[in-house]
Symmetry: C2
Subunit: 273 residues, 2 copies
């Protein structure tokens, strides 16, 4: 287990630790209340289609920022970010197949690389916990269960494929409150996309997730499903670009933006940081 | 069936028709987009406890207005309202038992009578239909199904008893959107109180409602339950006051307030009408 030091709670200090190689683990619970993001990096040739894919599928792929081609900084998300080095662990995909999980991708960076930062569920999970709503996988120290569904995303060029959802099971009254809370976090996947019978969205067996750990479900719980940030990785597997770089699951970019104010800061008028 | 004339679409003209005895039927679909309200009238001796009951149970009993003792007008809800005559059909309760359904209660009015106007579901049903969400009982021209639950309201003096809920069945994605929409109508019972398994709130058989008609449920529908304005009538049955007057189901007070703006008008600062 990571011992959380003051350096782990401050986003900029945490990124410096990560850049130095001193922290290569997951980022859940680190960076104080800072917004965290999923990463996809694609060459410019594929980036235009992928940007359109995200724009058309904002529930699984809410865009926090898109980097300029060849520019590894992300000035709207934080001071002095180097997206090639500031994530603890990356994934390298060649022709849609995962081939490596390095802690640095500086050697793979090119002048035409475009970074996509996509919102993640940590923001709304914190808000749910603050509202007294159980987040059972987190309490059990498991990864969230995720499933491919029969819901197809809107394709853009070669990118497409199934919507991937995450599951959080909870009493029905909490599910109602969770809809209200999460609707206020459109950059963190927003309100759930399905409630109740999993078979209606093509999930045969809740105990056999396609990603993550099996769910923790208490008697009387209602299954609640959110659009999931793993969806773009499924789209990369479908599109088979010659090269794609992503974060490794759970190893996110920690930004300088307070998660609770992300919508206001990133979607308000004008420059914020 | 009522033929809707221009007089039926204008709230003030409709109330004049009702006061004259020319309209004694239900008010669903009448009064244009005007807010409609459930009525409870109690002598001052019981009124204080009932006011506390409503305040403690805002989901089933959202208060639109409380009349001054002995005053049959309701100036915050509409021009020249006479609550003794402006509802098409009333119910008279003695010792908690329904004894009559007159079209006028002027002869039963006393100087200590207090009127309570309580929000109803028509407001949010219109908003659901406008959002393309099916309201199946309405489309089938049935009354909404209502059920006594195992959820107990917060008691105040003699008033208490079970929460009564209304059921609307719909696809899960519509249920999620309905939560978001209805949360914006706190004066019309707000967000649902339960989703999914009816047995978790003490409902044994959806096809045997305690009030209203059996439900219309399509394959794949999720049952969605809202706190219901029949709850105060159950509380009157429990409290058994010597005299209570209410509207007859479906025969509501039609106010001058546009339903979509009711929250802003009635809960904003200062006088609105």
């Amino acid at each position: 287990m990571t011992v959380i030091s003051p350096q782990h709670a401050d986003p900029q200090a945490l990124r410096r630790l990560i850049r130095s190689g001193a922290h290569q683990g997951p980022t859940a619970g680190l960076g104080g209340d800072a917004l965290q993001g999923n990463l996809v990096i694609l060459p410019a040739a594929e980036a235009a289609d992928f940007l359109r894919y995200c724009q058309q599928n904002p529930r699984p792929c809410p865009l926090l920022a898109v980097g300029a081609p060849g520019d590894p900084t992300l000035p709207t998300l934080g001071r002095d970010i180097d997206i090639r080095r500031d994530i603890p662990r990356y994934r390298v995909w060649r022709d849609g197949v995962l081939v490596a999980e390095p802690s640095d991708i500086a050697d793979l960076w090119r002048d035409d690389m475009v970074s996509f930062l996509i919102g993640c569920s940590f923001s709304f999970e914190d808000a749910l916990i603050a509202a007294g709503i159980p987040v059972r996988h987190s309490a059990a120290r498991r990864n969230v269960p995720m499933y491919r569904t029969s819901i197809m995303t809107r394709p853009a060029g070669p990118f497409g494929g199934p919507l991937v959802v995450s599951l959080r099971a909870m009493p029905a009254a909490d599910a109602i409150e969770a809809v209200r809370i999460c609707a206020g976090f459109p950059l963190a996947h927003g309100a759930p996309v399905h409630l109740g019978d999993p078979s209606l969205i093509g999930i045969a067996d809740l105990d056999a997730p396609d990603y993550g750990d099996p769910p923790v479900i208490e008697p009387g719980d209602l299954p609640v499903f959110w659009a999931c940030g793993v969806t773009p990785q499924a789209a990369i597997e479908a599109a088979r670009p010659a090269l794609a770089l992503t974060h490794a699951p759970g190893h996110m970019l920690v930004t300088d933006i307070p998660a609770a104010r992300a919508e206001r800061i990133l979607t308000g008028p004008g420059q914020a940081l």
